[in-house]
């Protein structure tokens, strides 16, 4: 086991000074897990608020503005309400799987967060196959949706789950291949090293044409993988009720809901790390102050999140055949060509380096 927990050296040293090694490392892991949970539960709630504010802005409304200043506490209040709500269930559901499904979704979403380098120091798990780990984890999340849809014993939920399965499996290919295109140019799967490479210019500049194509494909496929509009056939309200989580209520519904927003954050964070230099500042303007990396990372990620929300309120929903045609007839061939193009550019040394 070679876990590099490099969040803050001081806490690390302090823990190891007061406890024996084994207990200290367990205590450290638990501490980091709790910190991540706390940060991202709150961050997820604020993403929900952001979505509502953006939606309101696009529709010329004000949005939530009653709870707290400028509605800032609205989603906190919503979360409290969801915690206190009754957990309903159907009698003829498969109880075990029905209760298990939300945890699949939320656990995989939170696990993926561990590998992101928020700054040089702030990274929980710097694994040498970071990108592959992200893909592996995200491929498990869909199981939760499938199980939830099937075990609620509800036709709408089942149809929603089937659609989700088809959609996620198809678009995973595009996400994977567009990430692979960027791995070609960065030459590493480790996220911290991918950021290191970008000190000579962000990868979207280094790889110019194929990188821009890869970024576009990544954003489209990423939006589809998180089941967000315009690819939200999974929970198309007008057709399926609430889709796969029709039968869920209270906190279990909140897990699905939170996971969707955390997944959106993850897609944006992958985009930031692979294309826009992660925690690196533009032109290295704050290179002397390393902790500002968090600011740059979160800033870039939020811009990409905003882009995904922009999609949501701009495009109408696709039909299922249009969705599959887009993936298998357009994105996938384009992606394969793009990989060859990127390989050529890396081979002939045509990348732009500063």
């Amino acid at each position: 086991m070679n876990i590099t927990l490099s969040i803050t050296k001081n806490i690390h040293n302090w823990l190891f000074s007061i406890m024996p090694e084994g207990i200290a490392s367990i205590a450290e892991m638990v501490l980091i897990a709790v910190v991540y949970l706390a940060i991202f539960a709150v961050a997820g709630l604020y993403l929900v608020l952001l979505e509502r504010k953006v939606a309101a802005w696009f529709q010329l409304r004000i949005g939530p503005n009653r709870v707290g200043y400028w509605g800032l506490l609205q989603t906190m209040a919503d979360a409290l309400k969801l915690v206190s709500k009754e957990l309903t269930g159907t009698v003829k559901a498969d109880k075990f799987l029905y209760n298990l499904a939300p945890y699949f979704v939320i656990v995989t979403a939170l696990m993926a967060l561990a590998v992101f380098p928020f700054t040089q120091e702030f990274q929980a798990f710097d694994i040498n196959i970071g990108v592959l780990f992200l893909l592996a984890i995200s491929s498990i999340g869909v199981i939760g949706i499938l199980l939830g849809g099937w075990s609620s014993n509800n036709k709408f939920a089942l149809i929603g789950a089937m659609r989700s399965g088809v959609q996620t499996i198809s678009y995973e290919l595009s996400v994977g291949l567009s990430i692979l295109t960027m791995v070609l140019i960065s030459g590493s799967l480790q996220l911290s090293e991918i950021v290191e490479v970008q000190k000579n210019g962000w990868l979207i500049v280094q790889g110019h044409i194929p990188a821009v194509i890869a970024f576009m494909i990544f954003m489209i496929a990423g939006t589809a993988e998180t089941n967000r509009a315009p690819f939200d056939l999974v929970e198309a309200e007008s057709e399926l009720g609430a889709g796969f989580h029709t039968e869920y209520s209270g906190m279990k519904f909140a897990y699905f809901f939170l996971a969707e927003f955390i997944n959106m954050f993850i897609i944006a964070a992958i985009g930031t790390t692979l294309f826009f230099g992660g925690w690196l500042s533009p032109f290295g303007i704050t290179e002397s102050i390393p902790w500002l990396g968090v600011f740059w990372f979160v800033g870039k990620t939020l811009i990409l999140v905003f882009l995904m929300m922009w999609f949501r309120w701009t495009f109408p929903r696709l039909r299922i055949d249009q969705l599959l045609t887009l993936e298998w007839k357009y994105l996938l061939p384009l992606n394969l060509l793009n990989i060859v193009l990127m390989a050529l550019i890396v081979w002939l040394n045509l990348t732009i380096q500063f």
């Binding site: 086991m1 498969d94 196959i129 893909l135 592996a136 491929s139 075990s151």
Partner: protein
């Protein structure tokens, strides 16, 4: 600590493997199988073989299990339960399993395992070079053979999926 994690993982694997074969509900056994596969990938993580662990998660947990769940969802209603096999069959299977277990245990206990002290993490780069090298110890031939196998199975899948259309056309032209 590694020992404790190993035993926890081993317990998880054994418990869910038994649960998987003894559950009467089909989708539940698929989910138990998923836990077994996740436990195995945990073992790979434990011996620092990250690449294989991630591949295990992607291919088995993310690919095979999702396909299994799909096929179960398509054919299986939620209230259906699997039937118990006949007594004679059960005895036969028990004997066969015990035989297999015996072979495994004798092999494991008669082989002297060498404890390797070094803990070198195999990087993806090494694996890539290994797969593409055509010198001694390289794996270029199996790599290419597998790619042909994959192509063949893909074509086969397309033929099966489009079966009637293609064969009908051929019959017409003949």
């Amino acid at each position: 600590m590694e020992r404790i994690i190993f035993y926890i993982l081993a317990l998880i694997i054994i418990f869910f493997a038994i649960a998987s074969v003894s559950s009467k509900k089909m989708l539940r056994s698929v989910v138990y199988l998923l836990f077994v596969l996740c436990g195995i990938s945990g073992l790979y993580f434990l011996i620092d073989y990250n690449f294989l662990a991630a591949i295990q998660l992607t291919v088995y947990a993310g690919g095979v299990i999702v396909l299994l769940i799909f096929s179960v969802m398509l054919v299986h209603h939620i209230e259906m339960e699997l039937e118990l096999a006949k007594v004679s069959k059960r005895i036969l299977i028990a004997v066969a399993s015990l035989l297999g277990l015996g072979v495994f245990l004798t092999t494991i206990y008669s082989y002297e395992f060498i404890v390797v002290e070094n803990s070198i993490t195999t990087t993806t780069e090494d694996i890539g070079f290994g797969l593409l090298s055509y010198e001694a110890g390289g794996f270029i031939l199996p790599f290419e053979v597998i790619s042909i196998l994959l192509l063949a199975s893909m074509i086969g899948a397309i033929i099966i999926a489009k079966g009637t259309k293609i064969t009908n056309k051929n019959n017409d032209s003949l």
